[in-house]
């Protein structure tokens, strides 16, 4: 087995880990997109106090925020096909990655819903009233006046959640997904050099996080420049 930690091996394993980066990234991005879309819908149900759908959203958000993601993962992976089989839709042959993306997307949606709801409430009511007073419909007022301002308020929290999601993907291997962490585990199992793989993975995750931080700060600055003094 040799040394417990061989720095040489970190460099040797690093490209192997990088070769799985696209899996990690596709989980993060696909789940974020799904989460933002579904989260917006949930937030609007909550804000409009749509009968029944509002209550459904409340229960959904509580459940998704209140249970561990690994539980949700297994529910989606084993439960969803059973549910869909009832309406004669066989999804058992789907790639595992799709189930992972659905899980993380559904989970992200619950967090995003509350962020988006708070951001929309955070835009002063006077903005909506002014939009109404010049004859805009509800949809026009939302789309043209409220939503762009809410986006700026939501952005820092969105960034934080996306980074949280990135870290959360580290348990996707539980379903047998070989992403960056999955690869580190595989390397560890086959070479008995567990630590080197994980150190490499840590470097990759850290770099991604720094990149995301930088990216979000940049977008925020750009948007804010247009609306200085808004926050």
């Amino acid at each position: 087995m040799g040394k417990l930690f061989d720095i040489q091996l970190v460099f040797e394993y690093f490209p192997k880990l990088l070769s799985r980066l696209h899996i990690t990234l596709s989980i993060v991005f696909a789940a974020t997109v799904l989460g933002v879309i579904l989260g917006t819908v949930l937030a609007l149900f909550r804000l409009a106090k749509t009968p029944i759908l509002n209550q459904v959203a409340v229960v959904y958000i509580s459940f998704m925020r209140g249970t561990p993601i690994i539980v949700q993962m297994f529910i989606v992976y084993y439960g969803l096909p059973l549910l869909l089989l009832m309406i004669h839709l066989d999804i058992n042959h789907w790639d595992k990655l799709i189930f992972i993306i659905i899980t993380y997307g559904l989970n992200m949606a619950a967090f995003m819903a509350e962020i988006i709801r708070a951001s929309i409430i955070g835009v002063s009511i006077g903005q909506t009233e002014a939009a109404y007073s010049v004859g805009m419909s509800r949809l026009q007022a939302f789309r043209r006046i409220v939503a762009p301002q809410a986006l700026l308020i939501a952005l820092p929290s969105l960034g934080m959640n996306m980074m949280g999601l990135l870290q959360n993907t580290s348990i996707a291997f539980s379903l047998g997904i070989i992403d960056v962490i999955g690869k580190a585990r595989v390397i560890g199992a086959s070479t008995y050099h567990t630590l080197e793989g994980y150190v490499g993975a840590a470097v990759i995750f850290l770099a991604l996080c720094i990149l995301m931080e930088y990216g979000f700060t940049h977008i925020e600055k750009k948007l804010k420049y247009k609306m200085i003094g808004l926050i």
Partner: protein, 250 residues
Amino acid sequence: MIELKGVYKAFGRHPVLKGIGLKVAKGEVVVVIGPSGSGKTTLLRCINFLEKADEGELTIGQNHYHFKHASKKDILSVRRQTAMVFQSYNLFNNKTALDNVTESLIITRGVAKNEAEAIGRRLLDKVGLTDKYDAYPCRLSGGQQQRVGIARALALNPEVILFDEPTSALDPELVGEVLAVIKKVAREGITMIVVTHELAFAADVANHVVFMDGGIIVEEGTPQQLFFHPKAERTQQFLKRILPEWNYDI
């Protein structure tokens, strides 16, 4: 012509407007005065449905509306015949001064962009903001913001402009510039209903002054009548309290 009949509005069990009737002829400037909490602002907000009155009728030109039974379409139609200038300006924070003025023209009236921008520039020139076309609201002083607000209201060429205490949030130094713009607009014959505490201004531009207290119109008349020969005791009290010096001057 704008006419209000029997406007009643309560917040919960607390009645704010107890049967208001008001007639505003075309081109007339009506100023509503009264102590805080007398329902002035609520009355104004009921006219363009930012508050929904419980009872009453509204006539704008040939169109009649019942507050209680107004449909979404009615509300939109009323809002497209009226415009409002807010106490806290409420400019669209995500739009430049020019976009604030043109936005509604383009979105709700279907005016072509270049045409709308020509109108917008003309109106910003009129309110003295020629050099601020591309400034975002946060870069403008309160007085400048409010003047953009007035330009935004003018752009819609409404039947009536509702001014909700347009100078109350301003530095005393900036009140003058906004009042001057309102006066200029008033002289052009645009129908206005102005809620304000600036009595000297009211005496200067109003054709008709309304004194409200406790959700009713206590007294109304020409500025001359109301300010110098108030009949109701409540009006006399109110004027005495906020215009003590006038008693000596005249």
